[in-house]
Amino acid sequence: MAENKVPVLETKKLGINFGGLKAVSDFNIQIYEGELRGLIGPNGAGKTTVFNMLTGVYEPTEGTVLLNGVPLNGKKTHQFVAAGIARTFQNIRLFGQMSVIENVKVAFTKDVKYNLLDASLRTRKFWKAEREMTDKAMELLSIFGLEDAAELPASSLPYGRQRKLEIARALATDMKVLLLDEPAAGMNPTETAELLDCINTIRNRFGIAILLIEHDMSLVMNVCERIKVIDYGVTIADGLPEEIASNPRVIAAYLGE
Protein backbone atom coordinates (compact mmCIF):
# COMPACT_ATOMS: atom_id res chain seq x y z
CA MET A 1 0.00 0.00 0.00
CA ALA A 2 0.94 3.63 -0.20
CA GLU A 3 3.37 3.75 2.68
CA ASN A 4 3.87 7.50 2.51
CA LYS A 5 0.20 8.16 3.24
CA VAL A 6 -1.07 8.82 6.76
CA PRO A 7 -2.64 5.65 8.11
CA VAL A 8 -6.37 5.91 8.86
CA LEU A 9 -5.88 4.21 12.17
CA GLU A 10 -2.64 4.06 14.04
CA THR A 11 -1.71 3.03 17.56
CA LYS A 12 1.53 3.84 19.31
CA LYS A 13 2.70 1.70 22.20
CA LEU A 14 -0.85 1.04 23.31
CA GLY A 15 -1.09 -0.81 26.60
CA ILE A 16 -3.41 -1.37 29.53
CA ASN A 17 -3.18 -2.83 33.01
CA PHE A 18 -6.02 -4.27 35.05
CA GLY A 19 -4.77 -4.08 38.60
CA GLY A 20 -1.52 -5.96 38.35
CA LEU A 21 -2.42 -7.78 35.14
CA LYS A 22 -0.88 -6.41 31.97
CA ALA A 23 -3.67 -7.31 29.55
CA VAL A 24 -2.14 -5.63 26.50
CA SER A 25 1.25 -4.06 26.07
CA ASP A 26 3.16 -2.25 23.34
CA PHE A 27 0.47 -2.68 20.72
CA ASN A 28 1.40 -0.95 17.44
CA ILE A 29 -0.64 -1.10 14.30
CA GLN A 30 -1.09 1.01 11.18
CA ILE A 31 -4.12 0.52 8.98
CA TYR A 32 -4.56 2.26 5.65
CA GLU A 33 -7.67 3.12 3.72
CA GLY A 34 -9.34 0.14 2.03
CA GLU A 35 -7.25 -2.35 3.94
CA LEU A 36 -8.59 -5.47 5.60
CA ARG A 37 -6.52 -6.45 8.58
CA GLY A 38 -6.76 -9.48 10.76
CA LEU A 39 -6.10 -9.61 14.50
CA ILE A 40 -5.87 -13.10 15.87
CA GLY A 41 -4.78 -14.83 19.00
CA PRO A 42 -5.91 -17.52 21.40
CA ASN A 43 -8.77 -16.95 23.84
CA GLY A 44 -7.95 -14.34 26.44
CA ALA A 45 -5.05 -12.96 24.40
CA GLY A 46 -6.37 -9.41 24.68
CA LYS A 47 -8.03 -8.89 21.30
CA THR A 48 -11.30 -7.54 22.63
CA THR A 49 -9.36 -5.39 25.06
CA VAL A 50 -7.57 -3.79 22.10
CA PHE A 51 -10.95 -3.01 20.54
CA ASN A 52 -12.15 -1.52 23.78
CA MET A 53 -9.14 0.79 23.80
CA LEU A 54 -9.67 1.67 20.14
CA THR A 55 -13.23 2.78 20.92
CA GLY A 56 -12.76 4.57 24.21
CA VAL A 57 -14.52 1.92 26.29
CA TYR A 58 -11.29 1.37 28.21
CA GLU A 59 -8.81 4.15 28.72
CA PRO A 60 -5.33 2.86 27.87
CA THR A 61 -2.79 3.17 30.67
CA GLU A 62 -0.14 3.96 28.08
CA GLY A 63 0.13 4.85 24.41
CA THR A 64 -2.09 6.65 21.93
CA VAL A 65 -4.74 5.95 19.33
CA LEU A 66 -4.55 8.18 16.27
CA LEU A 67 -7.21 8.56 13.62
CA ASN A 68 -5.88 10.16 10.44
CA GLY A 69 -2.99 11.41 12.54
CA VAL A 70 -5.19 12.99 15.21
CA PRO A 71 -4.73 11.59 18.73
CA LEU A 72 -7.89 10.57 20.55
CA ASN A 73 -6.58 10.48 24.11
CA GLY A 74 -9.17 10.90 26.84
CA LYS A 75 -12.12 10.97 24.47
CA LYS A 76 -15.37 9.17 25.21
CA THR A 77 -16.79 6.35 23.11
CA HIS A 78 -19.26 8.52 21.23
CA GLN A 79 -16.43 10.88 20.33
CA PHE A 80 -14.43 7.98 18.92
CA VAL A 81 -17.47 7.14 16.84
CA ALA A 82 -17.86 10.74 15.73
CA ALA A 83 -14.19 10.71 14.71
CA GLY A 84 -14.86 7.67 12.56
CA ILE A 85 -14.27 4.41 14.44
CA ALA A 86 -17.18 2.00 14.65
CA ARG A 87 -17.33 -1.51 16.01
CA THR A 88 -19.36 -4.62 16.59
CA PHE A 89 -19.29 -6.70 19.75
CA GLN A 90 -18.17 -10.25 20.35
CA ASN A 91 -21.37 -10.98 22.26
CA ILE A 92 -23.92 -9.22 20.10
CA ARG A 93 -25.26 -6.00 21.55
CA LEU A 94 -28.32 -4.93 19.65
CA PHE A 95 -31.18 -2.79 20.90
CA GLY A 96 -33.33 -5.88 21.30
CA GLN A 97 -36.64 -4.17 21.99
CA MET A 98 -36.36 -1.85 19.02
CA SER A 99 -37.18 -2.74 15.46
CA VAL A 100 -34.46 -3.72 13.00
CA ILE A 101 -34.67 -0.45 11.10
CA GLU A 102 -34.66 1.58 14.31
CA ASN A 103 -31.44 -0.11 15.33
CA VAL A 104 -29.84 1.31 12.21
CA LYS A 105 -31.51 4.69 12.57
CA VAL A 106 -30.11 5.09 16.08
CA ALA A 107 -26.66 5.12 14.57
CA PHE A 108 -27.64 8.03 12.29
CA THR A 109 -28.61 10.15 15.30
CA LYS A 110 -25.30 11.96 15.63
CA ASP A 111 -25.53 13.24 12.05
CA VAL A 112 -29.18 14.27 12.12
CA LYS A 113 -29.51 18.01 11.88
CA TYR A 114 -32.95 18.77 13.28
CA ASN A 115 -33.37 20.00 16.85
CA LEU A 116 -36.00 19.66 19.55
CA LEU A 117 -38.06 22.52 18.14
CA ASP A 118 -38.13 20.89 14.69
CA ALA A 119 -39.21 17.63 16.27
CA SER A 120 -41.90 19.31 18.38
CA LEU A 121 -43.37 21.27 15.52
CA ARG A 122 -42.79 18.54 12.95
CA THR A 123 -41.20 20.99 10.56
CA ARG A 124 -40.35 20.22 6.97
CA LYS A 125 -36.73 19.79 8.06
CA PHE A 126 -37.80 17.07 10.47
CA TRP A 127 -39.76 15.13 7.88
CA LYS A 128 -36.99 15.47 5.31
CA ALA A 129 -34.36 14.21 7.72
CA GLU A 130 -36.54 11.33 8.86
CA ARG A 131 -37.33 10.33 5.29
CA GLU A 132 -33.69 10.41 4.30
CA MET A 133 -32.84 8.35 7.34
CA THR A 134 -35.41 5.73 6.46
CA ASP A 135 -34.13 5.54 2.89
CA LYS A 136 -30.50 5.25 3.94
CA ALA A 137 -31.36 2.66 6.58
CA MET A 138 -33.28 0.55 4.07
CA GLU A 139 -30.37 0.78 1.67
CA LEU A 140 -28.00 -0.51 4.34
CA LEU A 141 -30.40 -3.26 5.36
CA SER A 142 -30.69 -4.41 1.76
CA ILE A 143 -26.92 -4.94 1.56
CA PHE A 144 -27.36 -7.52 4.28
CA GLY A 145 -30.65 -8.89 2.99
CA LEU A 146 -32.50 -7.62 6.02
CA GLU A 147 -35.00 -5.33 4.34
CA ASP A 148 -37.85 -7.81 4.77
CA ALA A 149 -37.27 -7.84 8.53
CA ALA A 150 -37.16 -4.04 8.92
CA GLU A 151 -40.17 -3.78 11.22
CA LEU A 152 -39.47 -6.84 13.36
CA PRO A 153 -37.97 -6.52 16.81
CA ALA A 154 -34.21 -7.00 16.58
CA SER A 155 -34.24 -9.68 19.27
CA SER A 156 -36.52 -11.86 17.16
CA LEU A 157 -33.90 -12.29 14.41
CA PRO A 158 -31.92 -15.50 14.21
CA TYR A 159 -28.32 -15.30 15.35
CA GLY A 160 -26.68 -14.90 11.96
CA ARG A 161 -28.95 -12.05 10.96
CA GLN A 162 -28.37 -10.33 14.29
CA ARG A 163 -24.65 -10.31 13.50
CA LYS A 164 -25.36 -8.73 10.14
CA LEU A 165 -27.65 -6.14 11.67
CA GLU A 166 -24.91 -5.19 14.08
CA ILE A 167 -22.54 -4.60 11.17
CA ALA A 168 -25.21 -2.59 9.37
CA ARG A 169 -25.63 -0.46 12.47
CA ALA A 170 -21.88 0.13 12.70
CA LEU A 171 -21.80 1.15 9.03
CA ALA A 172 -24.58 3.64 9.65
CA THR A 173 -22.29 5.70 11.86
CA ASP A 174 -20.49 6.71 8.66
CA MET A 175 -17.11 5.53 9.87
CA LYS A 176 -13.65 5.34 8.36
CA VAL A 177 -12.52 2.28 10.29
CA LEU A 178 -14.71 -0.68 11.06
CA LEU A 179 -13.75 -3.01 13.89
CA LEU A 180 -15.37 -6.44 13.80
CA ASP A 181 -15.04 -8.57 16.92
CA GLU A 182 -15.35 -12.25 16.00
CA PRO A 183 -18.20 -11.67 13.54
CA ALA A 184 -18.32 -15.33 12.55
CA ALA A 185 -18.44 -16.70 16.08
CA GLY A 186 -21.23 -19.21 16.46
CA MET A 187 -22.03 -19.29 12.76
CA ASN A 188 -22.23 -22.37 10.59
CA PRO A 189 -20.02 -22.57 7.45
CA THR A 190 -22.76 -21.34 5.10
CA GLU A 191 -23.49 -18.34 7.29
CA THR A 192 -19.78 -17.63 7.59
CA ALA A 193 -19.33 -17.70 3.82
CA GLU A 194 -22.27 -15.35 3.43
CA LEU A 195 -20.79 -13.03 6.02
CA LEU A 196 -17.44 -12.92 4.26
CA ASP A 197 -19.27 -11.96 1.07
CA CYS A 198 -20.91 -9.12 2.96
CA ILE A 199 -17.61 -7.94 4.36
CA ASN A 200 -16.08 -7.88 0.91
CA THR A 201 -19.09 -6.03 -0.48
CA ILE A 202 -18.97 -3.29 2.09
CA ARG A 203 -15.24 -2.95 1.73
CA ASN A 204 -15.46 -2.43 -2.00
CA ARG A 205 -18.49 -0.24 -1.73
CA PHE A 206 -17.45 2.07 1.10
CA GLY A 207 -13.68 1.92 0.68
CA ILE A 208 -13.18 1.73 4.42
CA ALA A 209 -10.50 0.11 6.50
CA ILE A 210 -11.51 -2.98 8.42
CA LEU A 211 -9.86 -4.60 11.40
CA LEU A 212 -11.18 -8.08 11.95
CA ILE A 213 -10.75 -10.11 15.11
CA GLU A 214 -11.04 -13.79 14.64
CA HIS A 215 -10.53 -16.70 16.90
CA ASP A 216 -10.55 -19.16 14.05
CA MET A 217 -7.31 -18.81 12.08
CA SER A 218 -8.40 -20.41 8.82
CA LEU A 219 -11.06 -17.79 8.27
CA VAL A 220 -8.79 -14.77 8.47
CA MET A 221 -6.17 -16.48 6.33
CA ASN A 222 -8.54 -16.34 3.37
CA VAL A 223 -9.60 -12.74 3.50
CA CYS A 224 -7.05 -10.56 5.27
CA GLU A 225 -4.12 -8.89 3.56
CA ARG A 226 -2.07 -8.69 6.69
CA ILE A 227 -2.49 -10.40 10.01
CA LYS A 228 -1.35 -9.50 13.47
CA VAL A 229 -1.09 -12.14 16.15
CA ILE A 230 -1.14 -11.43 19.87
CA ASP A 231 -0.75 -13.75 22.81
CA TYR A 232 -0.95 -12.73 26.48
CA GLY A 233 -1.29 -9.15 25.28
CA VAL A 234 2.01 -9.20 23.42
CA THR A 235 2.40 -9.03 19.65
CA ILE A 236 4.10 -12.23 18.54
CA ALA A 237 3.81 -11.89 14.79
CA ASP A 238 2.73 -9.46 12.09
CA GLY A 239 2.76 -10.21 8.39
CA LEU A 240 1.19 -11.78 5.34
CA PRO A 241 -1.14 -14.74 5.87
CA GLU A 242 1.37 -17.26 4.54
CA GLU A 243 4.10 -15.91 6.81
CA ILE A 244 1.78 -16.16 9.78
CA ALA A 245 0.71 -19.69 8.96
CA SER A 246 4.29 -20.89 8.98
CA ASN A 247 5.47 -18.84 11.97
CA PRO A 248 6.61 -21.24 14.70
CA ARG A 249 5.65 -18.86 17.54
CA VAL A 250 2.10 -18.57 16.22
CA ILE A 251 1.80 -22.30 15.84
CA ALA A 252 3.10 -22.77 19.36
CA ALA A 253 0.63 -20.23 20.75
CA TYR A 254 -2.27 -21.89 19.02
CA LEU A 255 -1.29 -25.38 19.98
CA GLY A 256 -0.76 -24.18 23.55
CA GLU A 257 3.05 -24.56 23.70
Binding site: T55, V57, K76, T77, H78, V81, A82, A86, R87, F89, R93, L94, F95, G96, Q97, M98, E102, N103, K105, V106, A107, F108, T109, K110, D111, V112, Y114, L116, A119, S120, L121, R122, F126, W127, E130, R131, R169, A170, A172, T173
Partner: protein, 383 residues
Amino acid sequence: MKNNKTARSYLVNTLVIAAAFILFQVLTGLFGSEGDFKLVLVPSLWQCCYLILLAASLNLVLGFLGQLSLGHCGFMAIGAYTAALISLACERAGVFTDKAGLVYILIIFGCIIAAGLLAAVTGLLVGIPALRLKGDYLAIITLGFGMIIVNVINNLPFCGQDGLSQGSAAASLYKTGLGFGSKAKVTYLWIALVVTILCLTLMFMFVRSKYGRAIRAIKDDEIAASASGINVSSYKVLTFTYSAFFAGVAGALYACANSSLSTSSFAFTNAGILNSTFVVVMVVLGGMGSLTGSIVAAVIMFFVNYQIANGSWVAALPPFLNGVFKYPMLVYAVVLVIVIIFRPRGIFGTYEFSLTRLPEDVKKARARRAAAKAERKEAVSHG
Protein backbone atom coordinates in the same frame (compact mmCIF):
# COMPACT_ATOMS: atom_id res chain seq x y z
CA MET B 1 -47.54 6.18 1.22
CA LYS B 2 -46.34 5.94 4.76
CA ASN B 3 -46.32 9.71 4.96
CA ASN B 4 -49.98 9.85 3.95
CA LYS B 5 -50.77 7.46 6.73
CA THR B 6 -48.97 9.62 9.27
CA ALA B 7 -50.69 12.74 7.99
CA ARG B 8 -54.04 10.98 8.18
CA SER B 9 -53.46 9.83 11.74
CA TYR B 10 -52.43 13.36 12.77
CA LEU B 11 -55.61 14.68 11.19
CA VAL B 12 -57.82 12.05 12.84
CA ASN B 13 -56.26 12.66 16.25
CA THR B 14 -56.59 16.41 15.95
CA LEU B 15 -60.21 16.16 14.85
CA VAL B 16 -61.16 13.72 17.60
CA ILE B 17 -59.45 15.80 20.28
CA ALA B 18 -61.04 18.99 18.95
CA ALA B 19 -64.48 17.35 18.82
CA ALA B 20 -64.14 15.99 22.35
CA PHE B 21 -62.98 19.37 23.54
CA ILE B 22 -65.91 21.21 21.96
CA LEU B 23 -68.37 18.66 23.30
CA PHE B 24 -66.87 19.14 26.70
CA GLN B 25 -67.15 22.90 26.48
CA VAL B 26 -70.82 22.54 25.55
CA LEU B 27 -71.40 20.26 28.53
CA THR B 28 -69.63 22.71 30.77
CA GLY B 29 -71.85 25.46 29.45
CA LEU B 30 -74.95 23.38 30.15
CA PHE B 31 -74.11 21.93 33.55
CA GLY B 32 -71.25 24.11 34.69
CA SER B 33 -72.98 25.79 37.56
CA GLU B 34 -74.60 22.68 38.95
CA GLY B 35 -73.78 20.54 41.97
CA ASP B 36 -71.90 17.37 41.15
CA PHE B 37 -70.50 18.62 37.91
CA LYS B 38 -69.00 21.63 39.61
CA LEU B 39 -68.07 20.05 42.90
CA VAL B 40 -66.94 16.57 41.86
CA LEU B 41 -66.33 16.13 38.16
CA VAL B 42 -64.44 19.34 37.43
CA PRO B 43 -62.05 19.17 40.40
CA SER B 44 -61.47 15.50 39.51
CA LEU B 45 -60.57 16.47 35.98
CA TRP B 46 -58.11 19.05 37.25
CA GLN B 47 -56.51 16.41 39.38
CA CYS B 48 -56.44 13.93 36.51
CA CYS B 49 -54.77 16.52 34.30
CA TYR B 50 -51.82 17.05 36.56
CA LEU B 51 -51.57 13.39 37.45
CA ILE B 52 -51.47 12.52 33.74
CA LEU B 53 -48.73 15.07 33.16
CA LEU B 54 -46.78 13.78 36.13
CA ALA B 55 -47.02 10.15 35.07
CA ALA B 56 -46.30 10.79 31.40
CA SER B 57 -43.32 13.02 32.14
CA LEU B 58 -41.81 10.55 34.59
CA ASN B 59 -42.35 7.86 31.99
CA LEU B 60 -39.89 9.67 29.73
CA VAL B 61 -37.20 9.09 32.33
CA LEU B 62 -38.33 5.82 33.86
CA GLY B 63 -39.92 4.05 30.92
CA PHE B 64 -38.13 5.35 27.85
CA LEU B 65 -34.72 6.24 29.24
CA GLY B 66 -34.82 3.47 31.85
CA GLN B 67 -33.53 5.48 34.81
CA LEU B 68 -35.28 5.29 38.16
CA SER B 69 -35.89 8.77 39.51
CA LEU B 70 -37.69 9.19 42.81
CA GLY B 71 -37.60 12.96 43.03
CA HIS B 72 -40.21 13.86 40.48
CA CYS B 73 -42.52 15.63 42.91
CA GLY B 74 -39.71 18.01 43.82
CA PHE B 75 -39.93 19.46 40.31
CA MET B 76 -43.66 19.63 40.64
CA ALA B 77 -43.26 21.59 43.87
CA ILE B 78 -41.00 24.06 42.13
CA GLY B 79 -43.59 24.51 39.39
CA ALA B 80 -46.40 24.99 41.86
CA TYR B 81 -44.57 27.60 43.91
CA THR B 82 -43.26 29.44 40.87
CA ALA B 83 -46.74 29.77 39.41
CA ALA B 84 -48.29 30.78 42.71
CA LEU B 85 -45.63 33.37 43.52
CA ILE B 86 -45.66 34.96 40.08
CA SER B 87 -49.42 35.22 40.07
CA LEU B 88 -49.36 36.73 43.54
CA ALA B 89 -46.71 39.23 42.53
CA CYS B 90 -48.73 40.23 39.48
CA GLU B 91 -51.82 40.66 41.57
CA ARG B 92 -50.01 42.80 44.14
CA ALA B 93 -48.43 44.89 41.42
CA GLY B 94 -51.90 45.52 40.12
CA VAL B 95 -51.40 43.84 36.75
CA PHE B 96 -54.84 42.34 37.12
CA THR B 97 -57.54 43.27 39.56
CA ASP B 98 -60.23 40.69 39.00
CA LYS B 99 -59.81 37.08 38.02
CA ALA B 100 -61.17 37.42 34.53
CA GLY B 101 -60.33 38.83 31.19
CA LEU B 102 -57.57 38.40 28.69
CA VAL B 103 -54.80 39.75 30.90
CA TYR B 104 -55.60 37.23 33.59
CA ILE B 105 -55.59 34.36 31.12
CA LEU B 106 -52.28 35.52 29.71
CA ILE B 107 -50.86 35.64 33.21
CA ILE B 108 -52.05 32.11 33.90
CA PHE B 109 -50.29 30.85 30.78
CA GLY B 110 -47.24 32.90 31.65
CA CYS B 111 -47.18 31.32 35.11
CA ILE B 112 -47.49 27.84 33.66
CA ILE B 113 -44.62 28.37 31.23
CA ALA B 114 -42.43 29.97 33.89
CA ALA B 115 -43.18 27.07 36.22
CA GLY B 116 -42.07 24.61 33.56
CA LEU B 117 -38.92 26.56 32.78
CA LEU B 118 -37.77 26.91 36.37
CA ALA B 119 -38.43 23.24 37.02
CA ALA B 120 -36.47 22.41 33.88
CA VAL B 121 -33.51 24.52 35.00
CA THR B 122 -33.56 22.75 38.35
CA GLY B 123 -33.83 19.44 36.52
CA LEU B 124 -30.75 20.35 34.53
CA LEU B 125 -28.79 21.30 37.64
CA VAL B 126 -29.85 18.14 39.47
CA GLY B 127 -29.48 15.92 36.42
CA ILE B 128 -25.90 16.81 35.56
CA PRO B 129 -24.40 15.39 38.76
CA ALA B 130 -27.12 12.82 39.56
CA LEU B 131 -27.20 11.07 36.21
CA ARG B 132 -23.60 10.01 36.55
CA LEU B 133 -25.05 7.36 38.81
CA LYS B 134 -27.19 4.43 37.83
CA GLY B 135 -29.83 2.14 39.23
CA ASP B 136 -30.34 2.19 42.99
CA TYR B 137 -27.75 4.92 43.47
CA LEU B 138 -29.57 7.21 41.08
CA ALA B 139 -32.88 6.39 42.80
CA ILE B 140 -31.45 7.33 46.18
CA ILE B 141 -29.79 10.52 45.04
CA THR B 142 -32.90 11.73 43.19
CA LEU B 143 -34.95 10.88 46.25
CA GLY B 144 -32.53 13.02 48.23
CA PHE B 145 -32.70 15.89 45.76
CA GLY B 146 -36.50 15.73 45.86
CA MET B 147 -36.41 16.11 49.64
CA ILE B 148 -33.83 18.88 49.46
CA ILE B 149 -35.93 20.85 47.00
CA VAL B 150 -38.98 20.60 49.21
CA ASN B 151 -36.96 21.63 52.25
CA VAL B 152 -35.38 24.56 50.49
CA ILE B 153 -38.77 25.82 49.41
CA ASN B 154 -40.03 25.35 52.93
CA ASN B 155 -37.27 27.53 54.31
CA LEU B 156 -37.57 30.36 51.81
CA PRO B 157 -39.14 33.21 53.78
CA PHE B 158 -41.70 34.08 51.14
CA CYS B 159 -42.99 30.58 50.43
CA GLY B 160 -42.36 28.40 53.45
CA GLN B 161 -44.26 28.03 56.65
CA ASP B 162 -44.38 31.76 57.28
CA GLY B 163 -45.15 32.62 53.69
CA LEU B 164 -47.39 30.97 51.14
CA SER B 165 -47.86 27.77 53.02
CA GLN B 166 -49.51 29.26 56.01
CA GLY B 167 -50.90 32.46 57.28
CA SER B 168 -52.34 35.28 55.26
CA ALA B 169 -50.54 34.60 52.03
CA ALA B 170 -52.19 31.21 51.73
CA ALA B 171 -55.58 32.75 51.95
CA SER B 172 -54.74 35.36 49.39
CA LEU B 173 -53.62 32.70 46.97
CA TYR B 174 -57.23 31.69 46.88
CA LYS B 175 -58.75 35.13 46.87
CA THR B 176 -56.23 36.60 44.50
CA GLY B 177 -53.26 35.11 42.71
CA LEU B 178 -53.99 31.83 40.96
CA GLY B 179 -55.84 29.44 43.26
CA PHE B 180 -59.20 28.89 41.62
CA GLY B 181 -62.39 28.49 43.56
CA SER B 182 -64.83 25.86 42.38
CA LYS B 183 -66.49 28.30 40.00
CA ALA B 184 -63.21 29.44 38.46
CA LYS B 185 -62.19 25.83 38.11
CA VAL B 186 -65.18 25.29 35.85
CA THR B 187 -64.53 28.47 33.89
CA TYR B 188 -60.86 27.73 33.36
CA LEU B 189 -61.04 23.98 33.01
CA TRP B 190 -60.27 24.48 29.36
CA ILE B 191 -56.85 25.78 30.32
CA ALA B 192 -56.02 22.56 32.15
CA LEU B 193 -57.25 20.49 29.23
CA VAL B 194 -55.44 22.51 26.59
CA VAL B 195 -52.20 22.54 28.55
CA THR B 196 -52.38 18.81 29.19
CA ILE B 197 -53.08 18.01 25.56
CA LEU B 198 -50.29 20.32 24.38
CA CYS B 199 -47.77 18.82 26.78
CA LEU B 200 -48.74 15.27 25.87
CA THR B 201 -48.35 16.16 22.21
CA LEU B 202 -44.89 17.56 22.88
CA MET B 203 -43.94 14.38 24.71
CA PHE B 204 -45.21 12.22 21.86
CA MET B 205 -43.21 14.28 19.38
CA PHE B 206 -40.13 13.87 21.54
CA VAL B 207 -40.53 10.13 21.83
CA ARG B 208 -41.17 9.70 18.12
CA SER B 209 -38.07 11.41 16.90
CA LYS B 210 -34.35 10.83 17.03
CA TYR B 211 -34.54 11.73 20.72
CA GLY B 212 -36.94 8.92 21.50
CA ARG B 213 -34.89 6.44 19.50
CA ALA B 214 -31.71 7.50 21.22
CA ILE B 215 -33.10 7.18 24.74
CA ARG B 216 -34.74 3.83 24.06
CA ALA B 217 -31.40 2.66 22.73
CA ILE B 218 -29.74 3.88 25.93
CA LYS B 219 -32.31 1.95 27.96
CA ASP B 220 -31.61 -1.23 26.01
CA ASP B 221 -27.82 -1.05 26.11
CA GLU B 222 -25.74 1.96 27.10
CA ILE B 223 -22.47 0.62 25.73
CA ALA B 224 -24.00 -0.23 22.38
CA ALA B 225 -25.69 3.18 22.32
CA SER B 226 -22.43 5.03 22.82
CA ALA B 227 -20.76 2.72 20.30
CA SER B 228 -23.46 3.90 17.87
CA GLY B 229 -22.40 7.49 18.41
CA ILE B 230 -24.99 8.49 21.01
CA ASN B 231 -23.73 10.91 23.64
CA VAL B 232 -25.31 8.97 26.47
CA SER B 233 -24.85 11.47 29.28
CA SER B 234 -26.12 14.46 27.34
CA TYR B 235 -29.21 12.58 26.17
CA LYS B 236 -29.84 11.50 29.73
CA VAL B 237 -29.59 15.05 31.05
CA LEU B 238 -31.73 16.36 28.21
CA THR B 239 -34.49 13.84 28.92
CA PHE B 240 -34.33 14.51 32.64
CA THR B 241 -34.61 18.25 32.01
CA TYR B 242 -37.43 17.83 29.52
CA SER B 243 -39.28 15.62 31.96
CA ALA B 244 -38.79 18.12 34.79
CA PHE B 245 -40.32 20.81 32.59
CA PHE B 246 -43.60 18.92 32.38
CA ALA B 247 -43.52 18.11 36.08
CA GLY B 248 -43.24 21.87 36.63
CA VAL B 249 -46.24 22.46 34.39
CA ALA B 250 -48.15 19.84 36.36
CA GLY B 251 -47.20 21.78 39.49
CA ALA B 252 -48.59 24.98 38.00
CA LEU B 253 -51.88 23.24 37.29
CA TYR B 254 -51.86 22.00 40.86
CA ALA B 255 -51.36 25.55 42.10
CA CYS B 256 -54.34 26.65 40.06
CA ALA B 257 -56.53 23.88 41.40
CA ASN B 258 -55.69 24.49 45.05
CA SER B 259 -56.44 27.40 47.24
CA SER B 260 -53.26 27.05 49.23
CA LEU B 261 -49.89 25.39 48.89
CA SER B 262 -48.04 23.44 51.48
CA THR B 263 -44.64 21.90 50.92
CA SER B 264 -45.70 18.87 52.91
CA SER B 265 -48.01 17.86 50.06
CA PHE B 266 -44.95 17.31 47.86
CA ALA B 267 -42.86 15.61 50.50
CA PHE B 268 -41.78 12.03 50.11
CA THR B 269 -43.59 11.12 53.29
CA ASN B 270 -46.88 12.48 52.05
CA ALA B 271 -49.48 9.72 52.15
CA GLY B 272 -51.59 11.37 49.49
CA ILE B 273 -51.14 11.27 45.75
CA LEU B 274 -48.38 13.79 45.43
CA ASN B 275 -45.39 11.79 46.33
CA SER B 276 -42.85 10.44 43.97
CA THR B 277 -43.58 6.78 44.70
CA PHE B 278 -47.20 7.27 43.75
CA VAL B 279 -46.01 8.65 40.43
CA VAL B 280 -43.75 5.65 39.96
CA VAL B 281 -46.72 3.35 40.65
CA MET B 282 -48.70 5.15 37.95
CA VAL B 283 -45.91 4.72 35.41
CA VAL B 284 -45.37 1.04 36.19
CA LEU B 285 -49.09 0.36 36.15
CA GLY B 286 -49.54 2.02 32.76
CA GLY B 287 -46.49 0.44 31.22
CA MET B 288 -42.96 1.71 31.16
CA GLY B 289 -42.52 3.08 27.69
CA SER B 290 -46.15 3.83 26.88
CA LEU B 291 -47.42 7.40 27.18
CA THR B 292 -51.00 6.36 26.52
CA GLY B 293 -50.53 3.75 29.23
CA SER B 294 -49.52 6.52 31.65
CA ILE B 295 -52.68 8.44 30.81
CA VAL B 296 -54.87 5.43 31.53
CA ALA B 297 -52.95 4.56 34.69
CA ALA B 298 -53.16 8.12 36.01
CA VAL B 299 -56.93 8.03 35.67
CA ILE B 300 -57.12 4.58 37.30
CA MET B 301 -54.93 5.62 40.20
CA PHE B 302 -56.97 8.76 40.58
CA PHE B 303 -60.05 6.56 40.98
CA VAL B 304 -58.32 4.26 43.44
CA ASN B 305 -57.24 7.25 45.47
CA TYR B 306 -60.66 8.87 45.23
CA GLN B 307 -62.39 5.71 46.37
CA ILE B 308 -60.02 5.28 49.28
CA ALA B 309 -60.66 8.83 50.40
CA ASN B 310 -64.34 9.24 49.56
CA GLY B 311 -65.87 5.87 48.70
CA SER B 312 -68.81 5.11 50.95
CA TRP B 313 -68.08 1.38 50.67
CA VAL B 314 -64.81 1.86 52.51
CA ALA B 315 -66.62 2.97 55.63
CA ALA B 316 -68.97 -0.01 55.31
CA LEU B 317 -66.12 -2.53 55.40
CA PRO B 318 -65.41 -4.54 58.54
CA PRO B 319 -62.94 -2.70 60.78
CA PHE B 320 -59.94 -4.96 60.15
CA LEU B 321 -60.20 -4.31 56.40
CA ASN B 322 -61.23 -0.74 56.80
CA GLY B 323 -58.03 -0.04 58.67
CA VAL B 324 -55.94 -0.79 55.61
CA PHE B 325 -57.51 2.11 53.79
CA LYS B 326 -56.32 4.50 56.43
CA TYR B 327 -52.89 3.90 54.96
CA PRO B 328 -53.29 4.61 51.25
CA MET B 329 -49.61 3.86 50.63
CA LEU B 330 -50.33 0.30 51.65
CA VAL B 331 -53.05 0.07 49.04
CA TYR B 332 -50.75 1.49 46.35
CA ALA B 333 -48.11 -1.02 47.32
CA VAL B 334 -50.65 -3.82 46.96
CA VAL B 335 -51.69 -2.46 43.58
CA LEU B 336 -48.04 -2.39 42.52
CA VAL B 337 -47.44 -5.96 43.68
CA ILE B 338 -50.54 -7.18 41.87
CA VAL B 339 -49.44 -5.44 38.68
CA ILE B 340 -45.96 -6.92 38.91
CA ILE B 341 -47.33 -10.43 39.42
CA PHE B 342 -50.03 -10.47 36.78
CA ARG B 343 -48.83 -7.96 34.23
CA PRO B 344 -45.18 -7.27 34.84
CA ARG B 345 -44.90 -4.93 31.89
CA GLY B 346 -47.89 -2.85 32.99
CA ILE B 347 -51.29 -2.53 31.39
CA PHE B 348 -49.97 -1.34 28.04
CA GLY B 349 -46.36 -2.53 28.07
CA THR B 350 -44.75 -0.42 25.39
CA TYR B 351 -47.86 -0.44 23.25
CA GLU B 352 -49.26 2.97 22.31
CA PHE B 353 -52.98 3.27 21.80
CA SER B 354 -53.77 4.76 18.42
CA LEU B 355 -57.17 5.56 16.97
CA THR B 356 -56.13 5.02 13.37
CA ARG B 357 -54.33 1.77 14.06
CA LEU B 358 -57.01 0.42 16.39
CA PRO B 359 -58.72 -1.99 13.93
CA GLU B 360 -55.32 -3.34 12.88
CA ASP B 361 -54.17 -3.76 16.48
CA VAL B 362 -57.37 -5.49 17.55
CA LYS B 363 -57.04 -7.93 14.66
CA LYS B 364 -53.43 -8.65 15.57
CA ALA B 365 -54.26 -9.15 19.25
CA ARG B 366 -57.05 -11.59 18.29
CA ALA B 367 -54.70 -13.53 16.05
CA ARG B 368 -52.14 -13.71 18.83
CA ARG B 369 -54.70 -14.93 21.32
CA ALA B 370 -56.00 -17.54 18.87
CA ALA B 371 -52.46 -18.73 18.23
CA ALA B 372 -51.76 -18.98 21.95
CA LYS B 373 -54.98 -20.94 22.44
CA ALA B 374 -54.15 -23.31 19.60
CA GLU B 375 -50.73 -23.84 21.09
CA ARG B 376 -52.20 -24.65 24.49
CA LYS B 377 -54.64 -27.13 22.89
CA GLU B 378 -51.77 -28.73 21.04
CA ALA B 379 -49.80 -29.00 24.26
CA VAL B 380 -52.77 -30.59 26.02
CA SER B 381 -53.41 -33.12 23.25
CA HIS B 382 -49.76 -34.05 23.17
CA GLY B 383 -49.39 -34.13 26.90
